[in-house]
């Protein structure tokens, strides 16, 4: 039952915030804050309650679930389920949700009610994606994320918001349609083989498929998730969307929406089509490495603070793609840690970008330089998260990327070496960011206020979390380990055959 609450709290608060904003904008903000906070606390409680049991969870058992018949004629269920993996991603979702509400506190100054409606509904959609184990419901939630996100960019975005939002919409909508076709194909294939119409994840796992059918259906899913991830060459919507979105939008995009792509690969692509995924793995891994290197070099060339950060996501998510398709325990767990750490470090960099834009009305690094002398605290925070992004040991990103590379090495030495060079490229862009924005002489003679209490309050937990992930990631690893084991088990049988 607790799972439905997670979603309804967000949906209902969204509507409430929208209505109440006519009378009091502040009340709308508080409603959104309380809603995200409440969800975060709920997941935290679930985590603490189950924490001792993570290591003994029987393979494949959900921690919590809820299964209502929705349209029984077509085998559609309203089936939500939670395991360690989705639990952690949900905690990330609500944490970044709180951050998003807080950064919008002063930034969003028109149509505030509708803004919070959209923000909370995006979060609800993401929650649905991480929880749905009925493919129809999954698709439903997938589309639910899209529309409010479109509005967030199109209404509260920056200069080129129209272009960016339409581009975002077309990319995700088209790829989503491919996924819908793939889902339906799987649905009918399952019926053809077993005589049962169902969208239920666990039942579809056992669907016998001819290898060519598996290949094409897998590809349909893969493309949808690769666009979201994003993988090169379908990444070009990302820099525009991330750059033009309001700060909260960028945080949700980078921190969460991209993760739904990775989650889809983990939860559906490989377990549902292990043979095809195994065949496809070399291509996917090459795409991952191209993303790491190409995204890094692109980031290095940018002059717009936010656009630079946006391209770093292409690079970091390349590690996730690489890790998922290396498909061994080290690489997989590394991929998940990267997902979480990237959500925090990149989310924080977008917060910094927002704070700078708020103060300077520009994102152009050519107009920055020497900000340390006027805003030492903000600049120090910027430096810290840039270091997270370049994979400094002791911070979360390092653990993830190191595990991915360690797991990839036995699979492909060449790709590991190239990806390790990608870590070097990360040094280029991160140092360039620090140098151009914070170090150097204050040539434009900026006199700007340093972090205020609310802003420090947003950034401080992110610093702590990143350090925690970097120095003591064990509780996190233990939380999703059983989930990963069962995913590997689903995928293991045909993969052995393929070998």
């Amino acid at each position: 039952m607790i799972l439905i609450w997670l979603i309804t709290i967000l949906l209902a608060s969204g509507v409430a915030a929208w209505m109440i904003a006519r009378w009091s904008v502040l009340a709308a903000r508080w409603i959104a804050l309380v809603a995200t906070l409440a969800d975060f606390v709920i997941t935290l409680v679930v985590w603490l309650r189950h924490y001792g049991q993570f290591s003994i969870v029987v393979q494949g058992n959900w921690l919590e679930q809820l299964d209502w018949a929705w349209i029984p004629r077509f085998g559609i269920h309203f089936h939500l389920a939670l395991d360690g993996l989705s639990l952690l991603l949900l905690m990330l979702t609500f944490f970044l949700g709180i951050v998003s509400v807080l950064v919008s506190w002063t930034e969003i100054q028109h149509a505030e009610g509708f803004f919070h409606l959209n923000l909370l509904w995006v979060l609800a959609g993401i929650t649905g994606v991480f929880l749905a184990v009925d493919l129809f419901l999954f698709y439903f939630a997938w589309e639910l994320m899209l529309v409010p996100m479109y509005f967030l960019i199109a209404i509260w975005g920056h200069e080129r918001r129209q272009y960016a939002s339409v581009k975002f919409f077309i990319f995700t909508q088209l790829s989503g349609l491919l996924m819908l076709i793939a889902i339906l194909a799987l649905y009918f294939a399952h019926h053809a083989a077993t005589g049962v119409y169902t969208f239920e994840y666990k039942q579809l796992l056992a669907t016998p498929l001819s290898s060519s059918a598996a290949w094409w259906i897998m590809l349909g899913f893969f493309v949808a998730f690769a666009v979201k991830l994003p993988a090169v060459p379908v990444h070009t919507w990302l820099p525009d969307a991330h750059t033009e979105a309001p700060t909260a939008g960028s945080i949700v995009l980078a921190g969460l929406l991209l993760k739904t792509g990775a989650y889809g690969l983990l939860r559906f692509v490989v377990p549902l089509f292990p043979g095809a995924a195994h065949q496809f793995a070399p291509i996917a891994m090459i795409l991952g490495v191209i993303g790491i290197l190409y995204g890094g070099v692109l980031a290095f060339g940018q002059t717009d603070f936010k656009r630079l950060v946006a391209y770093t996501s292409v690079s970091h998510l390349g590690f996730v793609l690489l890790g998922i398709f290396a498909w061994n325990e080290l690489a997989l767990e590394g991929a998940v840690v990267t997902m979480i750490a990237h959500g925090i470090s990149t989310g924080a960099l977008f917060v910094i970008a927002g704070l700078l834009q708020d103060r300077m009305q520009t994102r152009d690094m050519g107009r920055m330089s020497g900000l340390w002398s006027t805003m030492p605290r903000l600049s120090g925070a910027g430096l810290f998260f840039a270091l997270g992004s370049l994979g400094l040991p002791g911070l979360g990103d390092f653990v993830g990327e190191f595990l991915v590379l360690l797991g990839t090495y036995p699979v492909s030495r060449l790709l590991t070496i190239l990806a390790a060079v990608g870590v070097l490229v990360a040094t280029f862009y991160a140092l360039r960011l620090v140098q151009r924005a914070f170090h150097g002489a204050n040539v434009h003679e900026w006199k700007l206020p340093d972090l205020v209490k609310r802003e420090a309050l947003i950034l401080a937990p992110m610093v702590v979390l990143l350090l925690w992930l970097g120095l003591y990631p064990l509780p996190v690893l233990n939380t999703f380990k059983p989930a990963m084991k069962s995913l590997q088990q689903y995928a293991s049988r045909p993969m052995r055959e393929a070998k």
Binding site: P233, P393, V399, L405, L431, H439, A441
Partner: protein
């Protein structure tokens, strides 16, 4: 007492945290007390641990302290754990002690200008990272410390961030060392994949059991670690960052870019010596890299004008000696030279700082001169430190450590006459360039008036390090001079002894004698060219060949130029050309095509009846044609 081990890195880290969060709102006095005090505590604990270790050595000469399990995935279980044996003990003691005197010096030296608390925060973080590096019981934790010191090096080179030249030097240092670190990281992947652990002791054991001497895996793995080591220790071909790193404050140069961090590569190789012993080709490469670096950097030091750059090239060259020692299997000699070098090179930088500060930030030794009387501490510091560096026989520490290396380069089974001769030429070069510096700075005509004289917090470190630069070598007296090898004996519980060749014509005593002659020759040439008759040097440097060599050496053998053309420019060029991502052009093309067809089709809706009629007719004809002819 050994249980206090974890405090050695934790105390400076805690102090870093406090300085980073609250330091800017605290008085300078409090900052100095915390910043220097934490390192003092760290040193005292190190001393207590040393005492306890020597008084009652732990079983097997090693003590391990596990704090917590860091990561645990599929058999990969690195811990946050510290490992203390004779090697890490000596390194820890030297690092914490030298750090302490340099912190004390900084408390006065950095007093003017902004960023006092930021400076101590970075320096404390450096000490914490360096100690972590030294004490790490597994290579992943070592890597954490390794990257941590690299970060602090970057932050401190760029400490005066408002000058973008410093920022460039800082970025260069971070990126060049990270090139080496990438190789290091790949080495870790290889080691874990094939040996299943990153715990150093277990790793060495398994390597020795599973890999025969000369096996490809051992060679590749050790070569990758060597890649990391040459980056961090500024050896060929990655030495280019260190001279530029002198942009940082002088105490930073003394601590990080001379005494401690740059020797991390030496430590890494000594720590994993079993692996290197399994890979003779790599070990030979270590010796060759070392010998070549000794000579190349020595030549570059000879022609520099900037007092700190001379010392920087000298550091590169001296670490070359340590690599030479490692390469011939003289592990203890390398560590011995690390220790004496830490004393005299830190001393040289500290007194160079005094000179620079006294002369309004003047770095050019040709614009100095006659400072002997005005800056007696600096003068004597330079004489003692410089003599130790050059290896003045019998009474300086540098003599003992360098001669041990020279003798090993000859006598070890892995040594050779060529390596020995390279080392001897290095002695001549060293003595030549350092006395050139001393003569030009402290003798001759006074050119700039001294404006600033050091206080007690600067004098105490200078005196302390001067004493150590003199007596620090007595812990290990060679056979020919009395045979008291206390230092090497202690280290032999962690590092094997040199395997010597059959006796030959040259004995240890003779080798020492020849080294003394090389030293004297260097001193003599320096006297001749830079004190007695300056015009002689000008004559040498003024002909065409002389000028060419001078330029070439001055620019570090043109390697910066080469790297700039080969790597930096192409990457920057590509990044700038592709700023708008050529892949997006495809999607823009698709969008453009749609828009074009929309426009084209819209044109047909002209509202003119004739066009519509013609369209309908043409369409009918086409369809009829298709129907009829297919």
């Amino acid at each position: 007492m050994l249980e206090l081990l974890f405090l050695v890195p934790v105390v400076p880290f805690a102090s870093f945290l406090w300085l980073a969060t609250a330091g800017s709102r605290t008085s300078r006095k409090a900052v100095a007390v915390v910043g220097v005090g934490s390192i003092a505590i760290c040193t005292v604990i190190s001393l207590l641990i040393t005492w306890s270790y020597l008084a009652s050595p732990p079983d097997g000469g090693a003590f391990t302290q596990v704090l917590w399990t860091w990561i645990s995935v599929d058999g990969f279980t690195p811990q946050i754990a510290f490992y203390l044996d004779a090697l890490s003990l000596i390194m820890m003691l030297v690092v914490s002690f030298v750090s302490f005197v340099i912190h004390l010096y900084s408390a006065e030296f950095m007093l003017e200008g902004e960023g006092y608390s930021r400076f101590f925060a970075y320096m404390n973080l450096f000490v914490a990272s360096m100690i972590t590096l030294l004490l790490a019981n597994n290579l992943l934790l070592l890597y954490l410390g390794w990257e941590g010191v690299g970060l602090c090096s970057y932050l401190l080179i760029g400490f005066w961030y408002q000058d973008s030249a410093n920022g460039r030097a800082a970025q260069k240092a971070f990126i060049v060392t990270r090139v080496g670190d990438t190789a290091f990281a790949i080495g870790l992947f290889l080691l874990f994949t094939h040996l299943g652990t990153l715990d150093i002791q277990a790793l060495m054991q398994r390597a020795a059991q599973q890999w025969p001497v000369g096996s490809t895996l051992a060679i590749v793995a050790s070569a990758l670690l060597l890649g990391g080591a040459v980056g961090k220790s500024a050896q060929l071909p990655l030495q280019t960052w260190l001279p530029d790193a002198m942009a940082g404050p002088t105490p930073t140069s003394a601590l990080i870019h001379a005494a401690t961090m740059v020797t991390a590569g030496v430590y890494l190789i000594a720590r994993t010596h079993v692996l290197f012993s399994l890979a003779p080709p790599t070990q030979f490469a270590v010796a060759v890299v070392g010998a070549a670096t000794v000579l190349l950097a020595g030549c570059s030091a000879l022609v520099q004008h900037d007092i700190k750059r001379i010392l920087a090239y000298s550091t590169v060259s001296q670490i070359g000696y340590m690599f030479l020692a490692l390469g011939v299997g003289a592990w203890t000699a390398a560590i011995f030279h690390f220790m004496t070098h830490a004393f005299f090179k830190a001393l040289l930088f500290l007194v160079a700082g005094v000179v620079i500060q006294a002369l309004h930030d003047e770095h050019d030794i040709f614009r100095m001169g006659g400072l002997r009387k005005d800056l007696p501490y600096a003068f004597w510091g330079f004489v003692i430190g410089g003599s130790a560096l050059a290896g003045l026989p019998l009474i300086t520490a540098g003599f003992y450590s360098k001669d041990l290396i020279l003798w090993s380069a000859f006598s070890s089974t892995q040594g050779s006459t060529a390596l020995w001769i390279a080392g001897l030429i290095g002695v001549l070069l060293t003595s030549l360039y350092i006395y050139r510096l001393i003569f030009l700075t402290f003798y001759g005509k006074k050119q700039i008036e001294v404006a600033h004289r050091p206080g007690w917090r600067i004098k105490i470190p200078i005196v302390t390090l001067s004493v150590l630069s003199l007596v620090g070598g007595f812990v290990n007296i060679p056979k020919a001079l009395g045979n008291v090898p206390a230092f090497t004996d202690l280290l032999h519980s962690a590092l094997p002894a040199v395997i010597e060749r059959q006796a030959s014509m040259i004995t240890e005593g003779l080798s020492e004698g020849i080294a003394a002659i090389a030293f004297a020759l260097g001193l003599g040439f320096a006297y001749l060219f830079f004190l007695h008759k300056r015009t002689l040097a000008d004559i040498l440097a003024s002909n065409a060949i002389g000028r060419l060599i001078h330029r070439f050496w001055f620019a570090d053998w043109g390697m910066d130029w080469l790297y700039d053309r080969l790597f930096i420019r192409p990457i920057i060029w590509f990044a700038q050309v592709d700023r708008n991502d050529f892949m997006d052009a495809f999607y823009a093309g698709v969008a453009g095509l749609n828009e074009f067809s929309w426009r084209a089709l819209r044109e047909t809706e002209s509202g003119r009846l004739r066009w519509y009629a013609a369209g309908i007719t043409a369409g009918t004809v086409v369809f009829l044609a298709i129907v009829l002819w297919t």
